[in-house]
Symmetry: D2
Subunit: 346 residues, 4 copies
């Protein structure tokens, strides 16, 4: 089969670099074009020396990438992909956006949280938001995939079985998430300056993070009712990984065994979701550099709450890996193609 | 004034070492005796080379420490201090226990969570649990102080004004705490082995940590009703510091401004509690190596919950520093004597 | 082709775990048997949860591993592999030892540095020490490979072209190496206890590390004269990676350009050695999790010394990856089979 | 005694912040004025929240600082302090420069390494470069102190006794130094961006660092002959601390015992230099947050080289602490006033 020609716009951002790393070992694709506004004209290995003697493609503009590609991944600021996608679709290409432009169903949510209107409303009928384990049936016929955010992925996978079961108090959800520093990208800032980030820890954007509407959208669908969550992200002094500790009131008492069984049943055919044995606690070190989501289940019977711990690598299942999984879906390849990375234990 | 003669039992544990560091710069005390079961006969600077040419006291047995001291700090496993305190009090000495033996009011709580009975019930009438900002009035006349646990200190200080106000739903409290690795002490374990602890993150003892009854005891007193909390600690890959992110339902709506003002009023005369300006978020890097507790206040008006972020250095305000503050109380010294450590910003 | 049946003795040590991670993605092998003395009877994913749902082989004893395998990797304390290899060879199996038993040509060196005699001298004729880039021609006909140490690999690759050229003062070599903490293995110790290893840095075994004779053996061969080096390793607070900064006096003046060209020429056909462009400096972050060795070349013309910076991942090119490279050599597979891991940039 | 009125120009740089932290606990001074070009008009605790409720001085311009102060510390880019010092001395004030303007005796060195001429040559007669342990006798009568660089401090203290002894081959010195990230200051850069600095390690400015002439100047004086060194700094993923591993050829053989005794004798009256017992190795964790310099001595008898390991906290003995030590000298206070910080072991 002719390899899929793949382009990346925003190739020198962290998600772009991770896409390159994964796609170079994907047997069904060819890297056709890499675009970087900041480094156009340089080769990718000049910007990221880890790629020396592996790939030395020159960074070009976005039009060259569109022309060379069947599908283009975009890792760009919100508002930018929409215009890009209009151009790409006009040339018959597909788009997988790792940003926020195609994640929210309701334009008013986008306006409220991102401060921008939809400039190409028609594109949003051709697009679908897709966490494969939850939404893969919606992909056929679509031309754009809104790749989920890192926090929402860990949270939606962590809550889907429980919300579907109807046993949770859907209005009681509190989510305390912690993310590695790659989550805030390549851009420099005082908070990611090593001496101020190392040996430090803090929440940020307390109950005000832009992933909130995306989280609520998916959880509301799962619960079958409109719900609101309290969501507090924290910056964790590690390079990679997200741990979401999720607190949910239970409508009735439920044993940890039954809770775990519910998750086992729900995810039994899912390769990338691992429901841990009772007694283990999900730890980001066991999913780093891989596409797995590990989930451990706990019950606080004293207060009748379930506690779900869900962990992913924010750059893989939370960004580039899930995007490749979505590409596989879009092109009818086995969903795990190119995603066999085994998490190193250290 | 004759300096207070101070002893430390468990001097080579992390809390012991931190006590030495603080007490060496305390103008009103003399280090009279250091006891370490593991290293008896060695000098303290042989075990901790950071002390070279600063202090080279030989580690002795506990009886020698009792004889030489007016007050003894104990940093020993639970169940050990009780017997020690009986001996020390019999000789007219005072005891400040950094362990769990004198923290819980009800023996049944101790039995349930620590699996031991009280062997010297009479001592518990001579002892008091004391977070100085909350309990200092209870100290006069006591001979033993149960120094609070690290997590409970951050949590009780973080919730006192709100619970006192009666505006919180006292049964709704969820506490997501994160602690640096010194919290688990000097003892070796796979979870604190560098390659498995670095670039890792996970909760532990989910809804089952022994600090739970201590937390509930203090919060119930503050709220004026029996309450239960969901408490989940996490191991954070930093040396020092605790951040507790605390979620509380509000009985009525409350602005962040009003919430902050409530805390300002409550803590206005407290040197070691800093209520941060609105817009700032408490970060452990700003309290490291100091006796401060920083608290930031947030309101999630969408779900009508208050979010309190409370941070301390687990080894200082969460252990040795607070113990020295308690010693100052016990001996009538200004409470901040010897505690002027300024947190370095990096 | 029938897959090679591969066994690992010491499977729960860090090198063993890394071998499993690599071999699971190697297209020409099957993991036939895993031995762990400490965890016999458990499954590998019970010991390392990162392997959940990927591999759940039960850990067995070494005899079962020998019977099931064509080739066995051993990651065991020095002195242990020799006896094991005698058993394995008697059954017609091959052995790749990641320990020290088959690294030194002279028994007297082994006795001096490891305190043990050779108990099976005959095996040492059937074995070969092999850094593939330097010694691959010696492998044919051998049944045991002494897989090189991590420090010696980084150093020998860093110095080979210069020593071969005859332009170096071979007696002037000073090597300042820094290794990540996985280098000291899974075993617990105070020096790898997180709070004492994090935010710390120090040399260890100053001019007394057991890798010294191995380094001198290879460098002497390359230089064509007996030489001694000063070698000082340091413990670096990172999980993985070695950086060796190597100082060599030059017999004649040499420009950085010429020095780099010499290395380019020497390594031009080597996939796993990357000679960096002038102006770049080798950084372990660019080789982590991969089998690459990055080398940067510098000249201090003020003192007429060459400075070579050589970096590898101590667990991959410094252990498991090179062992797999050696296995490929031993079985006539392309040397890079299963070693296509691309270093992530973060 | 009236407290010395102290000003800081560059108060929001890392050295400035560290000066504030130290001086606030110094019994003989008052912080009279803080200048920051970037944050003029803000209060220092708005920029560094660690100072909340401790100090809230408003940042002003440099002229206000001069007027308010008896002595001014400057932490500013090279070339800036010279002009400032001219103004300050004209008003009868003293200056302690933590930058490079007053470190080099020869203007040609300054021109070569910093690319600037001296604009006020007359000031250089009123200034002195001072590592107190080596140069305190030169201070009386001076009005400006050139506070030494961090690397040069660790290196000069590490080599002084050996060079003075005449037993070293002064032309053979190779220095491999490793510094924590605070050494590169508050300014943002890709190399100190957390995800690229964490789990990374590399030399930089190989044999080309600007501290080289300062190192050579001091070492040449000590050796009594002009010498050149090879100096290679590395960026270490820790916040604080420098370890310099120094290699020196010996003219005659020397035991480690004799070498250590030589250092003991030399430094016996020095409070801030600790010569470690044989068998211990200097580790930056034992000097962090303190003004100590720890030195361990080693001999590689196989190659007849001495290896000196010297470690300091780059922000304290390598910057602010030494500057305060110099201020004490300048004003006739006991040299250790305000410098009693005890290194925490973790």
């Amino acid at each position: 089969m002719k390899p899929i020609q793949v382009g990346i716009v925003g190739a020198t951002g962290y998600a772009g670099v991770e896409l390159i790393r994964i796609l170079l070992n994907h047997p069904g694709v060819e890297l056709a074009g890499l675009c970087s506004v900041s480094f156009e004209g340089k080769t990718i290995d000049q910007v990221y020396p880890a790629f020396h003697e592996i790939i030395d493609k020159t960074l070009v503009n976005e039009d060259e990438v569109i022309d060379a590609s069947d599908v283009i991944f975009t890792g760009v600021p919100h508002g930018v992909c929409e215009a890009f996608a209009a151009k790409a679709l006009a040339k018959g290409k597909k788009v997988i956006d790792l940003g926020a432009d195609f994640r929210l169903d309701k334009e008013e949510d986008f306006q409220q949280w991102y401060g921008l209107p939809y400039r190409h409303p028609e594109l949003h009928k051709k697009s679908v938001y897709c966490i494969p384990e939850l939404h893969r049936d919606l992909v056929p016929g679509k031309e754009i995939i809104g790749n989920p955010g890192c926090y929402p992925t860990s949270i939606a996978l962590g809550l889907a079985p429980l919300l579907k079961s109807g046993k949770a108090d859907a209005q009681s959800i509190i989510i305390d998430s912690k993310s590695g520093v790659t989550g805030s990208g390549r851009g420099l800032s005082q908070t990611s300056h090593y001496p101020e980030c190392n040996e430090a820890f803090s929440p940020y954007k307390v109950a005000a993070h832009r992933h909130t509407p995306e989280i609520e959208q998916t959880l509301s669908q799962l619960a079958g009712e409109e719900l609101k969550v309290t969501f507090v992200p924290h910056l964790l002094p590690v390079n990679r990984g997200i741990v979401s500790t999720i607190y949910v009131g239970l409508k009735e008492s439920l044993s940890a065994q039954d809770l775990r069984q519910m998750y086992q049943d729900y995810y039994q055919t899912e390769k990338f979701v691992r429901v841990l044995p009772l007694g283990e606690v999900a730890n980001l070190r066991n999913v780093k550099y891989s596409n797995y989501c590990d989930i451990s289940l706990h019950v606080d019977s004293r207060t009748n709450r379930a506690i779900v711990v869900s962990t992913i690598d924010n750059m893989v299942k939370g960004a580039a890996g899930q995007a490749v999984q979505n590409m596989n879906l879009l092109f009818g390849l086995p969903e795990d193609t190119g995603l066999g990375m085994i998490p190193p234990s250290f």
